[in-house]
């Protein structure tokens, strides 16, 4: 049994006139259902039932003035004889909470003590910086953005970083599926090109070995070669140039040059011929920006000369070769090669090349498949000039032949272009007088 007393409803109200009963004896009420309407000197208020149960007895009549503390209704709530006026345990006078303008939850539940001033240390989990759009992208691609290394301001993960990460992940997956022993993936370097990296298992040895760390130069060469071969689809065309006339010219002029302190080799003639051909075939003097899908045509002609040095391959660059005469080229070239070999070459003399020549003929070889210096798009290999029997006018004659090999970036240069380019070089070097006329 629950005896509902008209509670201290606050607002300084001690009594009210019962205007209306919403229930009659025998009715079932739920907690919160209105029991009666009471008029006070402030408001008319519907008084809700604090318990669920069956109305046992109404103890006041409509129009009657009821006072705080009067029992107004008895509700059978299934419990023992219960004389509280609230759903909780008996409360002292000052804890009555039901109000004429509302119903305040009253409870003696004790909450945890305040830990003010003794809060725990913050944990160290950090998040990467990224714009919401980048996070969304990572999520859409199924990538945990926290694993992506950012290249943006303050290490912010950019959309490009996410794409690169994804590509790398996929490559890794592909390779691990069809080739177990190698693990190839592409890693982004800077914003403009992809840098290949090859991971291998440890090399097994089957006898006595000596491990020698490689030099910085060797490391650079190694990286450059991997880069070039990974990014550029190479192809090569080869030919033999009849340079008999060139040999004659050079032999004639050699003495004259020596008097001026110049060692005249074939290389200056080849460089000269090359600059002429490059102007006519500008794509050979370009770079391919495969991020923006653009070809960068260079209006300057800096010819790199692959040079064999005691420390390894170096490529000094002969700047603005197109503006220089053959003797001038010869003189400058000698200095460059000399400085490369004795390690006194300036760093600026190694940069800015637009096309490279490699002269493996100096060591007796005929043909090669030269590796393009990224981001150039072609390289010319020169073999050893030798007397060879050739057929001219249906007769076998002895001619000075120069074998050449041209490697090209097949993404932007076709085999036909390569053939035409070689043909023009051949023409120029077979008739050296043309070099003077051009």
């Amino acid at each position: 049994m629950f005896e509902f007393k008209f509670a201290d409803i606050g607002e300084g109200i001690h009594e009210g006139v019962l205007l209306k009963w919403f229930v009659k004896e025998g009715d079932t009420v739920k907690e919160g259902d209105s029991l009666f309407l009471v008029e006070t000197d402030k408001v008319n208020a519907e008084i809700p039932s604090p318990v669920s149960g069956k109305i046992n007895k109404l103890l006041a009549d409509v129009g009657e003035t009821i006072h705080v503390g009067n029992t107004v209704v008895i509700i059978d709530d299934g419990g023992e004889n219960n004389k509280v006026d609230s759903k909780n345990e008996p409360l002292s006078e000052d804890e009555k909470g039901a109000g004429v303008v509302g119903q305040i939850e009253v409870s003696s539940e004790v909450i945890e003590s305040s830990d003010e001033g003794k809060q725990e240390e913050k944990k160290g989990k950090t998040k990467v910086l990224a714009t919401p759009v980048a996070r969304k992208l990572a999520k859409d691609l199924g990538i945990d953005i926290n694993l992506v290394k950012g290249t943006g301001p303050a290490g912010r993960v950019m959309k490009e970083d996410i794409y690169a990460y994804k590509e790398r992940k996929e490559k890794k997956l592909e390779v691990s599926q069809d080739a177990k022993e190698t693990d190839v993936f592409i890693q982004p370097v800077g914003a403009t090109f992809l840098r290949p990296e090859v991971k291998r298992e440890e090399i097994k040895v089957y006898g006595e070995v000596e491990r020698v760390p490689i030099s910085r130069i060797r490391k650079t060469i190694s990286e450059n070669m991997v880069l070039s071969k990974s990014v550029i689809p190479h192809t090569s065309v080869m030919d033999d140039f009849d340079v008999t006339e060139l040999v004659k010219l050079r032999t004639e002029q050699k003495e004259m040059a020596r008097e001026r302190g110049i060692n005249l080799t074939y290389m200056p003639f080849i460089i000269k011929a090359l600059t002429i051909a490059l102007k006519e075939f500008p794509v050979f003097n370009s770079s391919f920006d495969d991020i923006k899908d653009e070809i960068i045509y260079k209006k300057y002609y800096n010819i790199g000369i692959a040079t064999d040095t005691p420390d390894g391959l170096m490529v000094p660059v002969l700047k603005e070769a197109n503006n220089k005469g053959i003797l001038e080229i010869a003189k400058e070239l000698e200095g460059l090669v000399e400085r490369a070999r004795n390690k006194t070459i300036g760093i600026e003399e190694l940069y800015g090349g637009t096309f490279t020549i490699t002269n493996y003929g100096a060591l007796g070889s005929s043909y090669g498949v030269p590796v393009i210096r990224y981001p150039e798009v072609a390289i010319l290999g020169i073999g050893k000039i030798d007397k060879k029997p050739v057929v001219m006018n249906d007769e076998i004659v002895i001619r000075h032949m120069m074998p050449v090999s041209l490697s090209i970036d097949h993404r932007i240069i076709d085999g036909g272009d390569a053939g035409r380019f070689l043909l023009r070089l051949k023409e120029l070097l077979s008739n050296p007088m043309l070099l003077l006329l051009s």
Binding site: I104, E116, K125, K127, A130
Partner: protein
């Protein structure tokens, strides 16, 4: 150490500060003889006399206006507005004068005064008895706005408010006035105004709330934790000035932000909080900063109020929505 509910903590704080500081006076409608409609000032008139605790006419403008006069003359009035909705006639005094006196007098006068009022719904009351007007006050330069959610903080913040040299609007969540008790130290202490409290630290989402909704969010957290979601709950405690640092630090950690308030949504406190998060933690966000707030309506009368009041299951749903974005 006494176990007190929030209303008890208000009484205790007022009592101890009136005893400590003779310039503190407490008044308002039914505040003196009756001890206030919610019994917040019970016993104070008896203990300190009618000069320091008294009833006023039913004129909120006069209540606040006289407080301004007292404060400017060196007293520390703590006035009670009976319900949130009754404060409207006093807005001219509060906004046009109380908030501006320091600036208007070029720093010569400041107003150490506190305006207390119960606020918020959930008690099946009438019109003007259920509103959450914190944004109205927080929008006014020169006012501080404080809302406690526990008895401990109620005492600490009320003492800090009375001792503050400028006007403080002290909003009391009436729905939880008597809903629970907590240990409240007898000795003097303050809880700093302008400092939020990390109620619970977590990793996945930052939830900011205040007043009566702290308890509702805690219930929601119990639900979502079953699903492995780790929630960091911040009790803002001071609506203005906002403790940006605590919020930003938390969002940088969790990457997700939800603000829950009973005040109506449009132009509400949540909008300001979300702006702060966007401005200062943008690069850390995993999901749109989100708000769960009251509908843009006058709080409904008792029969319809449950449609308006924010419940734990709604909060839990919103938390999951943000975390699973």
């Amino acid at each position: 150490m006494a176990l007190l509910n929030i209303i008890g903590a208000v009484t205790h704080a007022l009592d101890s500060e009136m005893e400590r500081d003779k310039t503190v006076v407490v008044y308002g409608e039914d505040v003196g003889y009756e001890g206030g409609v919610f019994r917040a000032t019970v016993g104070l008139q008896k203990k300190y006399g009618v000069d320091r605790c008294f009833d006023t006419p039913l004129s909120e403008a006069a209540i606040v206006g006289t407080a301004i006069g007292m404060a400017i003359n060196g007293m520390k009035p703590v006035v009670e507005i009976q319900f949130d909705g009754f404060v409207l006639p006093a807005l001219n005094q509060i906004i046009a004068h109380a908030a501006r006196m320091r600036n208007r007098s070029r720093g010569k006068y400041n107003l150490p005064m506190v305006i207390r009022m119960p606020y918020g719904g959930g008690i099946r009351a009438l019109e003007h008895h259920s509103e959450s007007p914190e944004a109205i006050f927080a929008h006014i330069p020169g006012l501080k706005v404080v809302i406690p959610s526990t008895p401990y903080d109620t005492k600490g913040l009320l003492l800090a408010a009375i001792r503050d040299p400028d006007p403080v609007i002290f909003l009391e969540p009436k729905r939880i006035y008597r809903a629970f008790k907590q240990e409240v130290p007898e000795e003097d202490y303050t809880v700093p105004i302008g400092k939020a409290k990390i109620v619970k630290s977590g990793e996945d989402i930052t939830v900011v709330a205040w007043g009566a909704l702290i308890r509702e969010v805690q219930k929601a957290i119990e639900e979502v934790e079953k699903e492995g979601i780790s929630v960091e709950l911040i009790d803002l405690r001071t609506i203005s000035p906002i403790d940006r640092e605590t919020i930003i630090e938390s969002v940088k950690k969790t990457g997700r932000f939800l603000v829950v308030h009973e005040a109506v949504k449009s132009f509400g406190p949540g909008a300001e909080l979300i702006s702060i998060v966007n401005e200062k933690a943008f690069l850390y966000l995993e999901a749109p900063p989100t708000r769960l707030a009251g509908f843009d309506v006058t709080v409904p009368l008792p029969r319809g109020e449950h449609h308006f009041i924010i419940e734990p299951r709604q909060i839990a749903k919103k938390i999951k929505e943000v975390v699973e974005f």
